[in-house]
């Protein structure tokens, strides 16, 4: 947490969405996002964030939950062309999905505000 506060201060980043299991920040100066999740703080640019979303949204969570004969309750989330790999349990995948859904809702809201308030007024 201390580390994140320092980063927030020096990089001038804004919290986009936060859940009990993680937080996503946006950096306006770097045009990117920082994801604090599963004990890691990772940087994602536009393309990588889209890829992460696609990867997470495509995981068949219901299938994972219904599957009883799995040896390990783990799913490897690998996002190609990005430096980050997540190895997550089913519960963590649900948590990450929730975090991403909230984040994209906030970004959509931010987009609407920009459109209506700033872009329309120019």
């Amino acid at each position: 947490m201390q580390a994140i506060q320092t980063i927030t201060h020096t990089l001038n980043i804004t919290e986009v969405f936060k859940t009990a299991s993680g937080t996503i920040f946006q950096s306006d100066s770097e045009n990117c996002w920082y994801i604090d999740f599963a004990g890691k703080l990772n940087r994602f640019d536009y393309r990588c964030l889209q890829k992460l979303r696609k990867a997470v949204y495509h995981i068949d969570i219901e299938g994972l939950l219904m599957n009883t004969n799995r040896s390990a309750d783990m799913e490897i989330v690998f996002i190609c062309a990005c430096d980050h790999t997540y190895i997550l349990t089913t519960l963590e995948i649900i948590a990450l999905k929730e975090l991403l859904q909230g984040t994209f809702t906030m970004l959509e809201l931010n987009h609407i505000i920009h459109d209506r308030l700033y872009r329309g007024a120019l």
């Binding site: 946006q26 306006d28 536009y46 931010n110 987009h111 920009h114």
Partner: protein
């Protein structure tokens, strides 16, 4: 907070996904027309075969038009996989019935995109789409006219031979 998503990409995620569906649909159309060209060629309907080869080419161009638009707007265009294309037809007439069905379903899916454009007030994509709306007018007209040849000429005697000879003559030249 900066609107980074919008800076990177003009269209919404939903729009990107529906346009990618259309890319698949156009690719499918192209493959279907190619299968029709093959069937017609195999069964001695050379005129119709040429007609469907041309249609297949046109659909490929439609696919690329959507593909490039998606890329130009900063989104991801996905090269589609097309499978399950019909090879055999029960009759010469069935080929043309299927062709019209296919065009009607394409018109419908383009109308669905238009409706999303209105919902999102995405006038940029709407303007791009106008070309396709007009194109569908021609596509449906041609498919309908072709099928009508079966009524006008009739299939008896040298009927099918006549139909095959005249399919290539169908033109749509409305300036409206």
């Amino acid at each position: 907070m900066k609107d980074i998503m919008r800076i990177k990409c003009l269209i919404s995620t939903e729009m990107e996904s529906i346009l990618n569906q259309q890319i698949r649909k156009e690719a499918q159309s192209s493959s279907i027309y190619l299968a029709m060209a093959s069937w017609c060629d195999r069964n001695g309907f050379d005129g119709s075969s040429v007609y469907f080869f041309k249609q297949a080419d046109e659909e490929r161009q439609h696919q690329l038009k959507f593909f490039k638009y998606v890329l130009d707007m900063g989104a991801t265009a996905i090269s589609p996989d097309v499978s399950g294309i019909k090879i055999e037809y029960n009759s010469f007439r069935e080929v043309f019935e299927d062709a019209l069905d296919q065009e009607i379903s394409v018109t419908q899916s383009i109308k669905n995109i238009a409706s999303l454009c209105h919902k999102e007030q995405d006038y940029v994509t709407m303007e791009f789409l106008n070309w396709f709306l007009k194109e569908q007018r021609e596509e449906e007209y041609k498919a309908r006219r072709a099928l009508e040849l079966f009524e006008v000429i009739g299939e008896e005697g040298a009927g099918r031979w006549q139909i095959d000879k005249h399919v290539g003559d169908i033109k749509y030249d409305s300036e409206a």
